[in-house]
Subunit: 196 residues, 2 copies
């Protein structure tokens, strides 16, 4: 198996994570997903310390080959950007201290890779993540689905770059692209769905 | 001596710090200031890990009784907010892991406390920080002066709250206010200046 890749949808109140590997025939293998929550009733420094601690435990347990972290959009407001910055900064330090490379993807890149168009809504992302990962039900909450989608997006890019012989670390930093292998996996999932 | 208080002007490229204590007669005692820099040529996760490491060393060396951290303004742009969020989040975790309380002050609160009006420019803050701390020259760069100003602002609030018997930790979380003691220190500094 290649991976696992740990997708992170950063936030202080809810930080989604999703773990996906790639089998030897290029099949996506979902391994775990969930949300790290911190209580809005606690002081911010304590919440961030809790988040950092949980991220460390997660990364040490999963030992991912890469982190795929959501990049904040410029359309976001300052309060969101500040909060996403705080959460993502902690994830990046956890990764750097373990020499794990980090790739960033915008929500649009993820939607393009997973759903096929950048304008997809959250429900479509959940639905398509369920299909391509052959899950029995929708991944919930949406933060966990988004994190799985980030990992899928990164693995799509990995497959593509492996096919054309690019260096993973350099390319990952520049952002991923949807892969033919991922497209095939999505097409197969849709075909299965329609055959039922 | 009360303190020291560690002021932090958070940023990924340049993170200013300033250390100020309060003598037994309420006199401000500057102890150190400077800037932690990370190279824009290095990957962001590595830069954040470097910053986190330097902040840990600084805090363990100084053993401050409180951190005074600049709060990002809503007028700031998203890129700035993201970067300030990343740097401040790391500082907050370093503090929380050592049970050091953190207070946040907006740039306007700091200017009001140190210069006397919220609309002061960077040069005026540098000038007034030099006066109230009896420094022989302007604290440089501006990030270091801003960090000293944050510590001075916090100590001003501490004096005021001590005078009226408020609990420091609760009040610190709500933000500080300029103190009569600080006002006297500033007035004395201005008088000394004019007498020369």
């Amino acid at each position: 198996m290649f991976g696992p890749v740990l997708g992170i949808d950063p936030g202080v109140s809810r930080c989604g994570y999703g773990v996906v590997g790639l089998g030897r025939h290029g099949e996506l293998q979902p391994m775990a997903c969930g949300v790290i929550r911190t209580s809005p009733d606690r002081p911010l420094p304590e919440r961030l310390a809790t988040l950092a601690h949980e991220l460390e435990i997660l990364v040490d347990e999963i030992r991912p080959v890469a982190l795929a972290v959501e990049r904040v959009l410029f359309q976001a407001n300052v309060r969101t950007a500040m909060s996403v910055g705080q959460a993502s900064g902690l994830a990046l330090v956890v990764a750097a201290r373990r020499d794990i490379p980090v790739a960033n993807y915008s929500p649009n890149e993820v939607k393009l890779a997973v759903v096929g168009h950048g304008g997809a809504d959250k429900a479509q992302v959940q639905e398509m993540v369920m299909r391509v990962l052959h899950l029995k039900e929708l991944p919930r909450p949406p933060d966990a689905a988004d994190a799985l989608a980030l990992a899928v997006c990164h693995l799509g890019g990995v497959s593509l770059r492996a096919a054309v012989g690019h260096d993973e670390r350099i390319e990952a930093a520049a952002g991923g692209a949807p892969s033919p292998r991922l497209d095939r996996a999505i097409a197969a999932a849709v075909a299965r769905e329609q055959a039922q």
